[in-house]
């Protein structure tokens, strides 16, 4: 059962590497970003294949089970990503609003001079 789950986990990580590569080819990720995504998914594959590597950490941080450490770590990672995505979206919204409004007001500024 665990081997099946590990297989699914590795397949998922490899699929995500493939999607990251696609985004890189389309120019949506730069060299540094693709490097970090490779690093993250490579680390995920290592943890999936050799989960015992994390056991020392789980003991250090007083987690009862290794699984708890992985879940909390993943949750923190998702929260960081979500907050970054939120800030980036807000920034884009502001830029878009500023541009669209300045385009609409372009003629007004000329007329009112």
């Amino acid at each position: 059962m665990i081997v099946v789950l590990q297989f699914l986990g590795v397949a998922f990580a490899l699929a995500m590497v493939y999607f990251a590569m696609l985004n890189y080819r389309r120019g949506e990720l730069n060299g540094v970003e693709i490097f970090f995504w490779f690093l993250i998914w490579a680390a995920a594959i290592v943890v999936i294949v050799f989960p015992d590597l994390l056991r020392t950490f789980s003991r250090t941080f007083l987690f009862a089970r290794l699984f708890d450490l992985i879940v909390i770590g993943a949750l923190l990672f998702v929260v960081v990503l979500a907050s970054r995505a939120y800030i980036a979206t807000k920034r884009m919204e502001k830029k878009l609003e500023k541009y669209v409004r300045s385009e609409a007001l372009k003629d007004v500024k000329i007329k009112s001079k």
Binding site: L96, E97, V100, R101, E103, A104, L105, V108, K111, S112
Partner: protein, 222 residues
């Protein structure tokens, strides 16, 4: 006092013509902000610039939201030399016959807020939601406005420079009220009649929820 009427509009091909036909009779300068409409609104607006003056159309190439459209309209009006602006919705729910109340009130107050009553055609659910919002704002910001989200309102140039909202969507009315309290501006409410012609447009439950989140954010950050 030079007063401009600002009408933000988005996909209002069904109502905008009738609204403008009534408004132009008042002989006040009008600015319509077409907020990225994808229907025939732009085509309906065009003839008004030829037959009525001063009539200005400003166009947002993409839909930004009511707050952003109001801001664009207000900034244009003040660039043209307005001392105050009156905002009206473009869906025909506001009556032009109420305009003189705003014009008069603007001479004495910085901000004039339209207030609908239940007898003036507001659906009961909206009325109760609005009352709850009014009480929430009163408890959090110390300002009670009986109709928090009525789009029929007016503001002077000096007040606008202080209030200048950041909301691009439907939270604009609430933010305006909160900033009115924050800067100690003189405000009043005037009763207005309302006709609901379209049930699916306007503030939805989701919008209300987002406004609620904004309200708590403003309480924490301002």
């Amino acid at each position: 006092m030079d007063i401009f009427i600002v009408i933000p509009t988005f996909n209002e091909e069904r109502h905008i013509k009738n609204v403008l036909k009534d408004v132009v009779k008042r002989k006040l300068p009008i600015i319509v902000v077409n907020d990225g409409s994808t229907d025939a609104t732009a085509e309906i607006l065009s003839p008004f610039t030829i037959h009525h003056s001063p009539f200005t159309i400003l166009t947002h190439r993409v839909n930004l939201g009511k707050g952003a459209a109001m801001k664009t309209g207000a900034e244009a009006a003040f660039a043209f030399g307005a001392d105050g602006v009156i905002f009206m919705d473009s869906d025909g729910q506001h009556k032009v016959s109420d305009l003189p109340k705003f014009v008069e009130a603007l001479k004495k107050y910085d901000v004039v807020l339209g207030s609908r009553t239940l007898s003036h055609g507001v659906p009961l659910v909206r009325f109760l939601g609005n009352k709850f919002a009014s009480m929430l704002i009163a408890s959090l910001f110390g300002i009670y406005v009986s109709d928090l989200v009525c789009g029929y309102r007016a503001i002077t140039k000096d007040a606008y420079e202080k209030v200048a909202w950041e909301s691009s969507g439907y939270a604009v009315e609430t933010e305006m009220v909160i900033k009115t309290a924050k800067y100690g501006l003189k405000y009043c409410e005037v009763p207005v009649e309302t006709v609901y012609l379209d049930n699916v447009k306007g503030v939805t439950i989701l919008d209300a929820f987002n406004i609620l989140l904004d309200v708590f954010r403003w309480r924490l950050t301002k």
